[in-house]
């Protein structure tokens, strides 16, 4: 806290300010985000975010496609955690159409979502390190993410955009070595997390760079409706998997990774280091869920059996949400009884979390701005939709 205050005092000195465009083509904006930054020497006095460079009219497309055809579009929202994007949409449609799915499908969905969550967090921690200048852990984590993608590829056929979830089931059945692969993957992730923690997370330089930087207080986080790791790092105990256990999450034993006042290892509640730390902790929790899930995953049963040729949806509207790696991902689907939804509104976590950026960036150093942006973990496909 003290450090931030001191920086603001320096900025009281009258001097010329420079307006600088960070992005849309910039190595650290994680896509085509453009931040118009006003800087006073090295201190950011104002940040105006400009979004929309990757807008693909997702919601309008949904009004022209039938319920099955929308699934591939949801893949492309947050393209590093596609499984988690498909799930809330499927949940919404299933809720609306009153479709029940088998236990095997539910558990397989949990496995896919958690594998993708680990892959997403690995990417996020990796790029966060890269934005702080650490190149080596970046490649270690990418190497491991490859194994998650390999498992998902064997399951669905896709490496990034899976189109695996379907209304009433899954597109393909599991393959025989799935359990063995996941066990090996979990072991690997745990080893790499220890390595990365030693090289990056507990590194003195890294802690100095990120701890007490970009503090998002609890009340501000609440007023911006932040969710996911960003909210949990600010001390908000909000994880949909625990708070509103959907699917079969109530059958698993795992913790919500919340940073509470007095429990922080470095820095303070709501700073960039803790946002990253929540992700590191969540990888371990996801590993736990995966281990339990492969124990209870039934071998028998056809996951494709329940998929209807044509989804018959009665008139009505429904909101379904799930915990994506970036936060709360929700779809509000309105149906007028036809096979095409009348409206499909998407609430994406990146977009909502990004809104707090101008507030927490003001008064920090220019280099901190990059760190804060990386710690929020946005994907522009998810922001612009």
């Amino acid at each position: 806290m003290n450090e931030t205050k001191k920086i603001i005092e320096y900025s009281q000195i009258d001097s010329d300010r420079m307006r600088i465009n960070v992005g849309p083509q910039h190595p650290s904006t994680h896509g085509v985000f453009r931040a118009e930054v006003e800087i006073d020497g090295e201190i950011v006095t104002e940040l105006v975010p400009h979004i929309g460079y990757l807008h693909r009219c997702f919601e309008k497309h949904c009004e022209k496609r039938n319920f099955h055809q929308i699934v591939p579009y949801t893949d492309r929202l947050d393209y590093v955690s596609s499984m988690n994007n498909e799930w809330p949409y499927i949940m919404a449609v299933e809720k609306l159409a009153g479709i029940e799915v088998s236990e095997k499908v539910e558990i397989l969905r949990v496995i896919c979502a958690e594998l993708n969550r680990i892959a997403n967090h690995e990417l996020c921690v990796a790029t966060f390190g890269l934005d702080c200048g650490a190149f080596t852990p970046f490649l270690w984590l990418f190497r491991d993410r490859e194994f998650a993608l390999a498992i998902l590829e064997k399951l669905s056929g896709g490496r990034l955009l899976y189109n695996y979830f379907a209304v009433g089931g899954m597109q393909k059945d599991i393959y025989p070595e799935l359990k063995k692969d996941i066990k090996a993957f979990v072991k690997r992730v745990r080893e790499t997390v220890v390595e990365v923690n030693n090289v990056l997370t507990y590194n003195k330089i890294f802690v100095n760079r990120t701890a007490n930087v970009g503090i998002l207080p609890k009340d501000v986080a609440l007023s911006y409706a932040c969710s996911g790791p960003v909210a949990r790092a600010s001390g908000i105990d909000y994880d949909l998997r625990k708070n509103e256990p959907y699917s079969v999450y109530n059958r698993f034993d795992f913790k919500t990774s919340v940073i509470r006042e007095g429990e922080e290892r470095h820095g303070c509640v709501g700073d960039s280091w803790n946002r990253n730390w929540v992700r590191v902790l969540e990888m371990e929790e996801s590993c736990k869920i995966l281990e339990q899930a492969i124990e209870i995953l039934p071998e028998e049963g056809d996951v494709t059996a329940g998929i209807p040729k044509k989804v018959k949806v009665p008139k009505g509207e429904v909101y379904a949400h799930a915990e994506s790696p970036k936060g709360e991902m929700g779809y509000y689907v309105v149906s007028n009884g036809k096979d095409i939804p009348e409206r499909c509104r998407c609430r994406s976590a990146s977009f909502v979390n990004l809104a707090c950026l101008p507030d927490i960036v003001r008064g920090t150093m220019f280099a901190d701005m990059i760190v804060i942006l990386a710690s929020i973990d946005i994907v522009l496909g998810d922001v612009d939709r």
């Binding site: 910039h26 390190g129 200048g133 650490a134 280099a367």
Partner: protein, 353 residues
């Protein structure tokens, strides 16, 4: 030292002094170019080893031709000068930055039989001429007409100028202990076994043991300061990719960009060579008179210097980058007081002798 000009005299005796001077001046250049290729290849392979990947494999056996391929790629690229650029400055900067690091080679002795110049104030010259890089970076950054480049140049000036002070304190300490600014004499005063190096307190019996911690700390300070002066990670804020795209080099392309990188690698070598000279006994053999012929001296010098270069590469691929205010904090509030204390101790050791 009469043998310093051995090669110069050899050539001058058979031809003219002018030809001898030109040849002696060209020898370091002939060294820098292959060295830069080796260093680039080493950087690629060492980083690959650390990052669990293969590194270059396709270009030649074990990817040995990769640095050459990269140089040719840069040669083929279009040489762009932005409209907003201040053209003369923009074009001079890449040459000037290389001049700075190349000129420093003038006083670096590769062996007791070869130093381009045996200048009496050699170490002072090396410090001064390698600071020319600041001017070149400032010119490049300012003349690019790009805000990122300008910010990078600002940072660079603040960083290099600040870190020269702890580095100069280290040099001053050694100069006090060796009682000279002449590089050859500094190296000679460390001759004999490796415990005579200034890293281990210089010449003297067991009574010098109290000064060893100070000289070791001074060596570490000098190493870190030299990293900062070369703009290497963790001090590469000048060209910090994640913040400033490529810093002062943002607008440069093709061969001009290559010049900046050649200068960076040459600077790395100069910094490593200065550490070798000041703390690791320069060209003198660590084993006393064993293996201490002129050619062996060359080998020792290159081995010692390349080990420091390896250390620089190792640090680069391990540590994250530090922030600009932390950079200044480390320099002014940590290194400067510690280097003053070490300097006092080293001067005291000289007085006691």
């Amino acid at each position: 030292m009469e043998t310093t000009y051995y090669i110069y005299n050899l050539i001058a005796n058979s031809t003219t002094e002018l030809i001898a001077a030109v040849i002696v001046a060209i020898i370091p250049l002939l060294f820098i170019l292959p060295y830069a290729l080796v260093a680039i290849y080493g950087e690629l392979k060492i980083s690959a080893f650390m990052q669990d990947k293969l590194g270059p494999m396709r270009t030649g056996p074990y990817g040995l031709l990769q640095p050459i391929a990269e140089v040719f790629k840069l040669l083929q690229k279009e040489d762009i000068t932005p409209d907003a650029a201040d053209k003369p400055l923009f074009n001079i900067a890449p040459v000037l930055i290389f001049v700075g690091s190349y000129a420093a080679f003038a006083v670096i002795p590769f062996s007791s039989y070869f130093a381009p110049s045996g200048l009496n104030v050699g170490i002072f010259f090396a410090m001064a001429i390698s600071s020319l890089a600041v001017i070149a970076i400032m010119m490049g950054g300012w003349s690019s007409g790009n805000k990122f480049a300008l910010l990078g140049a600002f940072r660079s000036v603040a960083q290099i100028v600040s870190y020269e002070i702890p580095a100069a304190m280290a040099v001053l300490g050694i100069a006090a202990m060796a009682n000279t600014l002449n590089i050859n004499t500094i190296i000679e005063s460390q001759s004999g076994w490796f415990w005579n190096w200034f890293l281990f307190g210089g010449q003297g019996g067991i009574e010098k043991i109290w000064v060893i911690p100070f000289t070791v700390v001074m060596c570490v300070i000098y190493f870190i300061s030299s990293l900062a002066e070369c703009n290497r990670t963790p001090f590469d804020l000048v060209e910090g990719e994640s913040e400033l795209v490529a810093g002062y080099a943002t607008e440069y392309s093709g061969m001009k960009y290559a010049m900046f990188y050649l200068a960076e690698y040459a600077n790395m070598f100069v910094a490593a060579a200065l550490i070798t000279i000041l703390f690791l006994g320069g060209w003198s053999s660590p084993l006393g008179d064993i293996l201490n012929g002129p050619i062996w001296q060359l080998a020792w010098f290159v081995i010692k210097t390349m080990s420091i270069v390896f250390l620089q590469i190792w640090v680069r691929w391990t540590l994250p980058r530090i922030r600009v205010d932390q950079l200044m904090f480390v320099c002014w509030k940590v290194f400067l007081p510690i280097s003053f204390v070490c300097f006092l101790a080293m001067a005291l050791a000289r007085m006691v002798q």
